[in-house]
Symmetry: C2
Subunit: 128 residues, 2 copies
């Protein structure tokens, strides 16, 4: 078992520690907003372009419950990634769309998806 | 409240749905392995180079408990991102290091950290 100890970083450690802590802070900010199991998936489903309504979205994202999708859409709206439009007709139509700001996530998403593909391929090779 | 309905995708929807589902699958793979609150943070702390021991790592990652760090290191080891070396001396020294494969995450990490910085800056501007 490792003991818990608190120690002040030495002078040699200090610059690494500062750089590390700045990167950890930025990563924490990113994961706070887009982390978790569903948020990026909802964004990918909305990015495919032709999906705007709640039920369509739910069908596109296997395994997400209506309650979870509804809560994720609310979070994404609060953080400026998704806009929600209510069309005043009978029955009422609610549409969700990505905002301009959500495009700032393109590179992150691209790299995550590419890495996921590469990793899946690697696992497949290891098994065969 | 949205009703739950199941509908087969129309012919026009089908290609989008297939592409969407392939991206969602890749993202799922990525998040399965590196998702959660701590894994990428442990990798960043190890990447800073001079940190190898458990206690040093714990000091670098604010808020992580010994139990959580221990469990995350085990997961990262199982998935091939971290190697664990036990040096046969008294007292026993255990060192953790990133594997070569972990370097495949560089771009993902870089984009996440850059996005986090940009997002923090944006929030700061909005508040002032």
């Amino acid at each position: 078992m490792e003991k818990k100890t608190k120690k002040t970083p030495t002078l040699a450690e200090a610059p690494y520690a500062a750089e590390c802590s700045s990167r950890l802070g930025a990563l924490e900010d990113a994961l706070y907003v887009i982390g978790g199991k569903w948020k990026l998936k909802v964004i990918i489903a909305l990015r495919e372009g032709d999906v705007k309504r709640f039920n369509e979205l739910q069908r596109r994202i296997p395994g997400i419950s209506a309650k979870m999708l509804s809560s994720e859409l609310r979070d994404l709206e609060l953080n400026g990634f998704v806009s929600r439009t209510v069309h005043d007709q009978v029955p009422v139509v609610v549409e969700y769309e990505l905002t301009e700001y959500s495009a700032s996530l393109s590179l992150v998403l691209h790299e995550l998806v590419e890495w996921g593909k590469m990793h899946r391929e690697k696992i497949r090779e290891m098994r065969s």
